[in-house]
Subunit: 278 residues, 2 copies
Amino acid sequence: MRVIQSISEMKEARKNILASVGFVPTMGYLHEGHMTLVRWSKNENDITAASIFVNPTQFGPQDDFERYPRNTERDLAMLDKEGVDIVFMPPVDELYPQGYNSWVEVKGITDKLEGISRPGHFRGVTTVVAKLFNLVQPHRAYFGQKDAQQLRVIKKMVIDLNMNVEVVSVPTVREADGLAMSSRNTYLNPAERNAALIVSKSIQLAQSLWTRGERNANKIKQQLVQMVQNEPLAKIDYISIADDDSLDEVDIINGRALVSMAVWVGKTRLIDNIVIES
Amino acid sequence: MRVIQSISEMKEARKNILASVGFVPTMGYLHEGHMTLVRWSKNENDITAASIFVNPTQFGPQDDFERYPRNTERDLAMLDKEGVDIVFMPPVDELYPQGYNSWVEVKGITDKLEGISRPGHFRGVTTVVAKLFNLVQPHRAYFGQKDAQQLRVIKKMVIDLNMNVEVVSVPTVREADGLAMSSRNTYLNPAERNAALIVSKSIQLAQSLWTRGERNANKIKQQLVQMVQNEPLAKIDYISIADDDSLDEVDIINGRALVSMAVWVGKTRLIDNIVIES
């Protein structure tokens, strides 16, 4: 496994690869979710590259950039064991040098859900992903469905800007008890870890209400709100049932809908989602 | 010469090219300036691709998108004669389909000069150039120094976003009497064509004042203002002497400076510039 820590070395390395390249961009502190992305990439490409980069431009001033968990040694061991070929770990001041001021932005669907709670977040995501795509030049790039809106934003960016990469969406990986895997789960103390289950349970409730025939989105949301409110350690940021394309809230579920939510458990913000469709 | 009129055909054609590709993006209505870009590209690359696309997103509501001159037949004959290999002419609704909403933006240096007179102009330019770069995937792309700020904005975009293309800047081509070549010159009636000379004359005056030792930017600007004001058909939009990197106005010329101006002659807006340096 080759670890590349500069832009110039990445460019040089990429020039010499003629085979197909799969790419797994990460912010490190890896878990089974990331490893699943890696396995999908290895299955579909000759070469798999991963990046580890905690991207400052996608964190707001109130966000957890400084305390975001980092453990490079462990990450590299995990990627090596999984058979990753290249790990790209650029320094922050090479991706964002003095005077940096160019941005890639998807408008519209970024105004909703996460975009409301985290203004500027998606501009940071699309910018860094565009930069990494230009440096790694992957044929395919792998993103988890857990970050449902991010996935849609990146797909939209790739289509709108005619980027030469196939965006592959990979199902959410969960702990045995249902909690969606996330590097941020490490913030949770034991009581919060237990309370955090309310998120996946709410998502499951939405699914099962829908399966039993409920199509009134507001009624489903009411039940989810009630469920989360019964958990004293949890505080709702948003609970949404939206059209899967536009991400506009729907009143009646009719076709593909994205049920998504963000919940604070203590100082940790957790997200989860499910797509329901006829 | 192959004329390509769809994105899918462009992608397919590009896949089969292993040689080096030079790219000349244009809005058509070609003149010797464009032909010079083509010749530079042919000199430095195996394959030369040009595009003809009047990009709606770089025109403001008050701009001349509708009346921008077009003559595809003549353009194609000129490009063919010059030995261009590929002409890419995508339809507007393929580059900007329904629901299109992704943008590439360089901040900072776009707030000045042209950016003040034409809000949103550079966002349209950087977005379409990024899209065309992704579709044509050139090794080198050729831009004229006449659009001095555009050139700097595109270079900044390429560096900031780590794009895999070398931006080559090509000196302004002028008519025998000094007028910088521009598709918009065609708007000028004979009296205006004569009055338009005031632009290149002013630029020359700045150069010669500087050569004679004047370093006070405001004194030079005053003389240019006076010169243009003596021409009844001309109206100044801006006259600028700026640091060549930041495009901030300077008081004292010290190192590389960009002298640039925009002048209305009748209903036609003309620009010109020169870089002066010790």
